[in-house]
C-alpha cells in the first residue's frame, strides 16, 4: 500500500475508535460510571446490524436509522432497570464500584447470550461497498473505510455541537458537573442519566454500521474495541469529546503505520508505550480536565 492510503486507513480506523470511545466518555462524563459493557454493546449493535442486513438485505448504511434507535432503547432500559437501582443504593458514592461490577457482569451475559443465539462464527456483511474503492487524486481508498471516516467525523462533530448548543445537551452537561445542583434547576437527573446511557449506546450502533462491511463480527469482537476505547479515552482525557476523536485517530495511525513495518503484536506494544508516555507527560490526557462538561 502506498503511504497516503496507509495514513487515510489509519485515520479512518482511528475515527471509528473515537466514535466508540465517545459513548464511553459521555457515560463517564455525565454519570461518573465506567461502562464495562460498552464493548459488548458494540458487539450487540454489530450482531443486530448484521442479522438485519442478512435477512432484509437493506443497505447497511441505511440501517443506522433503524439500529441506532433500537440501541438507544436498549441502553436507556439497561440504565433504568439495572444500573439505576444500584446507583440509588449507593447514592452518596461519586464513582460507585458496584455499578462497575454490574456493567462487567452485563458484558459477560451479553457475550454468552450472543454465543448462544448466533454461535461463535466469524461473519461479515459482504456488500457492494466491501470491495469497492474510491480513487482520489491518484490514491485508491477502500470505499467502506472512506465512508466510515466521513460518518465518524460527521457524527462526532454533530455530537459535540449537540452537547454544546442544545437544551438537552446543556442538561446532560449540567448533570456531569454537579448532579445535585442540576436537580435543583428542575432537571430530572435519573431520566437524564438514562438518556445519556441511551445516547452512548446509540453511538455504538453508528460505529457498528461503519465497521460492518469490512470487519468480522463474533461474540467477543467487543473486547478488542473495548480495550482500545479505554486507551483512547484516557489518552484524549476522560470526559472530553474532542479528546476521544483525537485519541482515536492517534491510535489508528500508530496501528496502520506500524503494520507496514512490524508485526501486529509489536504495534500493540508501541500503542501501549506511547499511551504510557503521554500519560507520563500529561497524566490528565491530551484534553484532560475532570470538569470537561
Amino acid at each position: 500500500m502506498d503511504s497516503l492510503s496507509v495514513i487515510v486507513n489509519g485515520i479512518s480506523m482511528g475515527a471509528i475508535y473515537g466514535l466508540i470511545a465517545l459513548g464511553l466518555t459521555l457515560i463517564f462524563g455525565i454519570m461518573k460510571i465506567i461502562n464495562f459493557a460498552h464493548g459488548a454493546l458494540l458487539m450487540l449493535s454489530m450482531m443486530c446490524s448484521y442479522w438485519t442486513w442478512k435477512y432484509t438485505g437493506i443497505n447497511p448504511y441505511l440501517l443506522i436509522i433503524m439500529i441506532a434507535p433500537v440501541m438507544f432503547v436498549i441502553g436507556y432500559s439497561t440504565e433504568r432497570f439495572f444500573i439505576k437501582p444500584v446507583l440509588d443504593a449507593q447514592k452518596d458514592v461519586r464513582e460507585p464500584i458496584a455499578v462497575l461490577l454490574l456493567t462487567a457482569a452485563f458484558a459477560i451475559v451479553l457475550e454468552n447470550l450472543s454465543l448462544m443465539l448466533f454461535g461463535a462464527d466469524y461473519v461479515m456483511a459482504k456488500t457492494t461497498v466491501t470491495d469497492a474503492t474510491i480513487a482520489f487524486g491518484g490514491v485508491t481508498l477502500s470505499a467502506a473505510r472512506f465512508y466510515a471516516l466521513i460518518i465518524a467525523l460527521v457524527i462526532s462533530g454533530g455530537f459535540y455541537l449537540f452537547l454544546q448548543y442544545t437544551e438537552l445537551g446543556r442538561k446532560l452537561r449540567s448533570c456531569g458537573q454537579d448532579r445535585n445542583t442540576a436537580s435543583l434547576m428542575g432537571i430530572d437527573v435519573p431520566k437524564t442519566f438514562a438518556i445519556a446511557f441511551g445516547i452512548g449506546t446509540a453511538l455504538l450502533a453508528v460505529a457498528a454500521i461503519t465497521l460492518l462491511p469490512f470487519y468480522y463480527v463474533h461474540p467477543t469482537v467487543g473486547n478488542v474495541f473495548m480495550t482500545k476505547a479505554f486507551i483512547v479515552v484516557v489518552l484524549g482525557g476522560l470526559g472530553s469529546v474532542p479528546g476521544a476523536l483525537l485519541g482515536g485517530i492517534i491510535i489508528g495511525l500508530i496501528e496502520s503505520i506500524g503494520a507496514q513495518y512490524m508485526t501486529a503484536t509489536l504495534t500493540t506494544v508501541i500503542v501501549y508505550a506511547i499511551f504510557l508516555l503521554i500519560l507520563f507527560i500529561k497524566p490528565s490526557g491530551l484534553f484532560g480536565s475532570r470538569l470537561e462538561w
Binding site: 452518596d92 437544551e167 446543556r170 442538561k171 452537561r173 449540567s174 458537573q177 454537579d178 445535585n180 445542583t181 442540576a182 436537580s183 435543583l184 434547576m185 428542575g186 432537571i187 430530572d188 437527573v189 470538569l291 470537561e292 462538561w293
Partner: protein, 238 residues
Amino acid sequence: MIMKLLTIKNLNSGYGDIKVIKNVSLEINTGEIVSIVGANGAGKTTLLKTISGVIPAESGEIVFDGKRIEHLPPHMITDLGIIQVPEGRRIFPMFTVYENLLIGSVLPRTIKERKNNLERVFELLPRLAERKTQVGSTLSGGEQQMLAIGRALMGMPRILMLDEPSLGLSPKLVSTVFEIISKINSQGITVVLVEQNVKQALKLSQRAYVLENGMIALEGSAEKIINDPQVKKAYLGL
C-alpha cells in the same frame, strides 16, 4: 389576610443513621422574608435540602400551597416554584454566565418566559450582563453569588430559599446582596433566608426561626428575636 405558602409540620430528616432535623415545624407566609438562623452545624442547610427534596424527609409533612410535597423528587419541587440558591453558590463551573442562566430555566413553565426573565435578571444584576460569556469557575465570589441568585430567578420562584448568600463576601458586597434580596422580595417573591450574618438578616426579615441542634429553639417576629437576650449573647456577640 395572611396566606400560608409553606407549612412544615414535625419534620425529621438527616443522612442515613444521622438524625439532623428533629421535629421541626414552621410556617412561611406569602410575601414575607423569613430568616432561619443558627450556629454551624445546626441543620439549616439540611432543612433546605429536605424542603427541596435533595434528601428525603423521614417523617412529617411539608405542605406547599395546599399540596403535600415531602415525597416529591427535587425537580418537581423546583417546578412548583420552590427554588433554592444553595450554600456555596454551586455555579456550574464549566458553563458561561449565560449558560448558567439558561440552565436555570429548563422547565417548560420557565422556558417560555426565558427572554423576559433574562432581561429582568440583567436589569437587577447588571454585572452579569457584562460577564455574559465568562466561564463560571473564573468569576469572583461576589459575581458567583449574583449569578446563583440570577439563575434562581430564571426559575421564576414563588419561594426563593437562599442558603448563606453573604458567606465570604466583603461587608460592602454583603450589603449589596441584602439590597438585592429586598428588591426581589418587593417584586412579590417570598424569601426564606438562611444566614449567619444574623443582625443584617433580621433587619431585613419580618419573622425568624432560631435553629439549634436541628430543633427550633426560638421563633417570632424579627424584632423579638433580635432583642432576645440569648440570641444577643450567642449570635450577636453583645
